[in-house]
Amino acid sequence: MTWENARIDKAKEIIEMYPQKRSALGPLLYLAQDKDGYISDDSIVEISRLIGITEVQVQSVASFYSMYKQEPTGKYLLSVCKSISCEISNSSNVIQKVKEFTNLSNNETDDEGLFTYESVECIGACGGAPAIQVNYETVEGLTPEKAVDLCKWLKEEQPKVVVADELQLKFGGTKSFDWAIEDNTGSSSPVPGFQTYEMQEEI
């Protein structure tokens, strides 16, 4: 067993939600990534046992989806959008600045394990292009300068939980739509802050 009891309990709880065990594979892979920052071989073995499929079947699914990382990631996963609306809104400048600041190229993680940089396809923030996600928390209406400020702030503050609304307020600009109220939920690891959220506190 390489997983903590709380994680296994959470996994079993998730499996229960579905008519067939295998459907829980996706959520379980997020539990794995939350643990190690990527889908480790140990977790693949663990998951294959939990849902009764072979290791390579788990790996096959995990490697299909771009949000399941096959290499260790840093504490903050920086995903800058490069799809059409962002592309024509100079996302390439944002990309360049973030790369310069972090000294990383695409899909690289720094030695300290703080940042992983990636340029990604559309994140659904087209009305607020160009946009970035930090651990899947969206910030819209960026400028290259604000993007660098964001990275600096992350580096200095190293917040435990990354909250979209907080980042947007500090570094964002034009939004895709009115976000209305301020929301303080967020993500505590390089996975979407969903399902892993409460479990994190237990561990």
Binding site: M17, Y18, P19, Q20, K21, R22, S23, A24, L25, G26, P27, L29, Y30, I51, I53, S60, V61, F64, Y65, S66, M67, Y68, K82, S83, I84, S85, E87, I88, S89, V120, E121, C122, I123, G124, A125, C126, G127, G128, A129, Q133, Y136, E137, T138, A164, T174, S176, F177, D178, W179, A180, I181, D183, T185, S187, P192, G193, F194, Q195, Y197
Partner: protein, 430 residues
């Protein structure tokens, strides 16, 4: 031109707490479903939906009532909400999920009542973490109130809803790929036939797969009537539709409008015109898969049929405006890269062809193009989408590969000179 506010009414009027059950209910929410459960029949709901003439909002525009009618009989049937909104340019479902999740849940309950379904899923793209949290917490509130679970609203109906997160694969927006993904498999589209979801869907059981916006429209239709809904918009494109406007626009965003105005009016009145008073060189009328229209085609009406007549599609309702300064080769390259990155890899033409197209465009963009490259690009496109027509003929299982050709074909048809200047002259030996 003005918006017609149906689906976005509650969120606009109650911005501070529209996502909470309390607020939704205070403003008339869950009234429709209560009425349906008390005095309606599945047939009466289906009749209402049919008479509204609402068509699917995911992109394909299939009549929703007809789709529900196709659902095969079986003890186990499922509803799956396609919230895998990933088409570049599109962010309309995001607002519905984030700001008014109960409207969707109410729509789902009514749908499940009409189709005799007791288990439903909301498949939300993984990048929509915050919307997913909002939906999850709305589902939990609904369970607490007894609006979900066993004997909901005190009726004999049971309904469970599971919120499921995707993980970064655009192809899962294709309904059969989504079902594979929900089953814990690679998000590869299934063969149709035999895997029509209404007959062999999730776990090979009859399954309704509907878009967020479609099902979010259901409560309004039931609170009012199918006829009222059908009276909005134009024939063939009834009701309202939320368009996501982005690109070189002063006021980008989601706009709920009746279909039938022109793109030009839309941009001017709601989008507040083109940024820096530039003119539009080209625009994408319906998401990244759609062939481009030129700036001189802004008077095209925003209806499913009008856009189709221009050789493109209204698709997902994502309108991307590109001004006169846009480097269209780079725009096309971005779009082709997107499809190459998102190809599932099953079909040879898509797997190999989209990456090849990306390579050629890269080469041209970096000044290493060859005189024969335009012909090569178009021929490779032709081998993915024979005849280069729209809607596309396909050599593939799903339309992803052919979609990748749309921007190249548009570029070469209307803006060829922008590419030609980057290529060495063809040497003609006579």
């Amino acid at each position: 031109m003005k918006e017609t506010i149906l689906l976005t009414k509650h969120m606009r009027e109650n911005p501070e707490d529209s996502h909470l059950l309390k607020s939704y209910e205070k403003n008339g929410g869950y009234k429709g479903v209560k009425k349906v459960l008390k005095s309606g029949t599945p047939e009466s709901v289906l009749e209402e939906i049919k008479s509204s003439n609402i068509r699917g909002r995911g992109g394909a525009g299939f009549p929703t009532g007809v789709k529900w009618g196709f659902l095969a009989e079986d003890q186990e049937r499922y509803l799956v909400i396609n919230a895998d909104e990933s088409e570049p340019g599109t962010f309309k479902d995001r607002i519905l999920l984030e700001r008014d999740p109960h409207q969707l849940i109410e729509g789902m309950i009514i749908t499940c009542f009409a189709a005799n379904i007791s288990k439903a899923f909301i498949y939300i793209r993984g990048e929509y973490a915050k919307p997913a949290r909002r939906v999850q917490s709305a589902v939990e509130q609904a369970y607490e109130k007894g609006y979900l679970g066993k004997n909901i609203f005190g009726s004999s109906m049971d309904l469970d809803i599971v919120v499921h997160l995707g993980a970064g694969a655009y192809i899962c927006g294709e309904e059969t790929a989504l079902l594979n993904s929900l089953e814990g498999r690679r998000g590869e589209p299934r063969l149709k036939p035999p895997f029509f979801p209404a007959v062999k869907g999730l776990y090979n059981k009859p399954t309704l797969v509907n878009n967020v916006e479609t099902i979010s429209s259901v409560p309004w239709i039931m609170n009012n009537s199918g006829k009222d809904y059908a009276s909005l918009g134009v024939e063939g494109s009834t009701g309202t539709r939320i368009f996501s406007l982005s690109g070189h626009i002063n006021n980008p965003g989601n706009y709920e409008i009746e279909m039938g105005s022109s793109f030009g009016e839309f941009v001017e009145s709601l989008g507040k015109g083109v940024r820096n008073e530039k003119s539009i060189k080209a625009y994408i009328p319906g998401g990244a898969s759609a062939p481009w229209l030129r700036g001189d085609q802004l008077d095209v009406k925003m209806t499913i049929d009008d856009v189709a007549n221009e050789g493109s599609m209204l698709g997902s309702g994502a309108v991307v405006m590109m001004d006169e300064d846009t480097n269209l080769l780079f725009a096309a390259k971005s779009l082709v890269s997107f499809f190459a990155h998102e190809s599932c890899g099953q079909c040879t033409p898509c797997r190999e062809g989209t990456t090849w197209l990306e390579n050629i465009l890269d080469r041209i963009a970096s000044g290493r193009g060859r005189a024969s490259d335009i012909d090569l690009l178009l021929d490779v496109c032709d081998n993915i989408s024979p005849g280069l027509t729209w809607p596309p003929k396909m050599t593939t299982i799903c339309p992803l590969g052919p979609s990748a050709t749309a921007s190249i074909v548009s570029l070469m048809k209307d803006f060829r000179s922008e590419v030609e200047v980057l290529l060495p002259k063809k040497v003609v030996v006579s």
